[in-house]
Amino acid sequence: MKIAVGMSGGVDSSVAAHLLKEEGHEVVGVTLKLWGGLSDQGCCSVSDVEDARYVANKLGIEHHVWGFTEEFNQYVVDPYVYSHSIGETPNPCIECNKKIKFDVMVSRALRLGFDAVATGHYAIKFKDQDGKFILRRSIDRKKDQSYVLSGIKPAALEYCIFPLGSLRKEEVRKIANSLGFITADKPDSQDICFILATGGREQFLKERIELHSAKVIDDETEEVIGEVEALEMITVGQRRFLGEKGDGRIRYALKVDNENQSVRVGPIEKLMDNFIELRQTFFYDVTPKPGDKVRVQTSAHGDPKEAVWLGESRIELLEPIRRVAVGQTVAIYDGEDGEDVLGSGMVSKCDKSL
């Protein structure tokens, strides 16, 4: 096959490219230039592009840079800012996978005559006996990235290859070391690539939208117990920086109320929910029927929870979970062993009842 490997300049994608080449594929390394502004690290800095090129040279494969800064702004950054502006909590990495790597990039690759796009994500994708494409958790549970890939459009799954799904991170580093990749000891990227560590999220948002102060209201007493500087910075479930009253009680953000410019806070019990309602829900080749058992994962490294698919984008959890912020992604796995991603959706509501 002719495969475009997304090479971020990190260790994982370097090894992914190597493995595919070993399998005899025609491999071309592609580094995406996504963010036009300042960044600490991530997919876009000159040094990451150079690292990817050095690795490609070492592997004897071609290396190209594909610029998608406009698309990145349009599909990832602008929606990220908008989502914060209406009090939601976006996940730009999932959007980037869905709209950029496995849409814009895959589309370009297909136009240019490639058969598939590979990345260094830890996940397994294969075609089962019935010809269905399955997205599955990786062998290395600590590194499993099936959650952040769960937004990949069904039409794109066919063209994705994840060579690291059956490897452990230590093995990947070992391979990189044995091949003398300069990326072998590079730390994993952690934060949002377009946000600087120095200014953080707040600085980034402040430069783009007006931030509003908000009252902090105790949900039990309706008493105003403080004020926060930026409503847009508050995430449901957080318990710090809420203008503590100082009475020793721990209060969590229960609701970011954009309309009334307030944050409702209360004890942990009030934060525990049994129901999630999703929007933009989709499934791959297997769609659960109402009443089917499923497992859901609500964050990149959260534990999967047992749940029942109610149909019409609604889920009931068997055990209460901490409220998931609106805008976050819920990955839905099969109910048997929770290995296969069935699909995903974005939280529109998470509550004690629907």
């Binding site: 230039k33 876009c44 190209h64 370009r108 794109a156």
Partner: protein, 382 residues
């Protein structure tokens, strides 16, 4: 065999220049400052090269300062002039300068507390003379406007600009970046009307790493590289004797080049593409650009994708301007001539001494194939 239509980026080394370079490496090249026969031998080669270049430009040998290339020449011209100029005042450049002038002028002006004035261009990329009239006064210390543009090829009216500048600001120094133009323009006439002029060997079929600043003896500047005082104190560092000889050879070879042949080839390329591909746009009229450069806009196609397919089919061209990370970003030149359009590839085809009719014919086929291939697939996607 690849078809090389990227002479404006780097022109391949001409065989005559290559042979000359090799011939030098058969014997040790001594430092021309050496007080021995080998040193004197090197000095003779250096002097001889300087003289040859001077004669091609209608200059005196003392008016040729060897540098490491176009960028250094531009830096020397701008920083060197401002270092000696009266305090304050302004620096005037055009909107479409190469970044070697654009960024240098901006930094030099900022560091020395002067204003940067930028002359606009018309939709063909030609500097508007009325704006020169408006922007030049006696506070302008240096005017640096390119002889011809590196992206779209537009020839700038340096003679007319110089006339206006001499009238309105007699003390202003006039510099032109002729890195792209030296191949195609009347370089004697050009040097006659300016004070300084930058050239680079690798755009002329010489090696990368050597160039020159031609500077009238009457114009005084300060060096930007200090040390042993070579090049009449203006550019320290042991002389690159072989580089100087190679530059001289490349410049001499220009005289024998028939640029009308190149113009004919460009017209054949342009006509061929216009005939075989629907809906492509000549960015600027052919006759406002130098004979070796043809720039087109291809709607409905992404530049990076077209470049990729052309690369696969062995056609070397440029698109947009490559930024540090290697990806394409909208160019200030295309923005200036209002040629930035959504999902439109901007392709620079540049011809030179090695370009043949056969190459042009093959290029037309391959470029039109690649464009129609991509346009057919424009809806392919997820």
């Amino acid at each position: 065999m690849s078809i090389y239509l990227d002479h404006a980026a780097t022109s391949p080394l001409r065989p005559e220049v290559r042979d000359l370079i090799f011939s030098f490496y058969n014997e040790p090249i001594a430092n021309p400052s050496g007080k021995h026969e080998m040193g004197r031998h090197s000095r003779r080669i250096l002097d001889d090269s300087r003289e040859k270049i001077a004669s091609c430009f209608g200059a005196r040998p003392s008016e040729v300062i060897f540098t490491s290339g176009g960028t250094e020449s531009n830096n020397l011209a701008i920083f060197g002039t401002l270092s000696r100029a009266k305090e304050g005042g302004a620096v005037l450049i055009s909107q479409v300068e190469h970044r070697a002038v654009l960024n240098t002028a901006e930094i030099a002006a900022k560091r020395s507390g002067r204003y940067l004035r930028v002359a606009p261009v018309d939709s063909d990329g030609v500097v508007r003379l009325e704006s020169i009239n408006n922007l030049v006064d006696e506070t302008v210390r240096i005017v640096s406007i390119m002889a011809s543009n590196n992206e779209i090829g537009t020839i700038e009216p340096i003679e007319e600009i110089a006339k206006i500048v001499r009238k309105l600001s007699p003390d202003a120094i006039i510099h032109t970046d002729a890195v792209q133009g030296a191949h195609w323009l009347d370089i004697q006439k050009l040097f006659e009307v300016v004070d300084m002029m930058s050239i680079s060997a690798h755009k002329l079929g010489g090696p990368v790493g050597v160039g020159a600043l031609l500077k009238k003896d009457s114009v005084k500047i300060d060096p930007i590289i200090h040390g042993g005082g070579q090049e009449r104190e203006l550019r320290s560092g042991t002389n690159d004797v072989v580089g100087a000889a190679a530059l001289a050879k490349a410049v001499e070879l220009l005289k024998a080049d028939n640029i009308e042949e190149t113009r004919t080839l460009k017209n054949q390329l342009a006509d061929g593409l216009m005939d075989s591909v629907e809906n492509i746009i000549e960015t600027v009229p052919r006759d406002v650009a130098v004979p070796g450069l043809f720039h087109i806009l291809v709607p409905g196609v992404a530049g990076e994708e077209l470049l990729y397919l052309l690369d696969k089919s062995g056609v070397c061209v440029s698109a947009g301007s490559a930024c540090a990370s290697g990806s394409l970003s909208p160019s200030h030149v295309l923005m200036a001539v209002d040629a930035v359009m959504d999902s439109t590839a901007a392709i620079r085809l540049s011809l030179g001494w090695s370009t043949t009719r056969a190459e042009i014919d093959e290029a037309i086929d391959k470029i039109s194939d690649s464009i129609s291939n991509l346009r057919k697939k424009s809806t392919v996607g997820i």
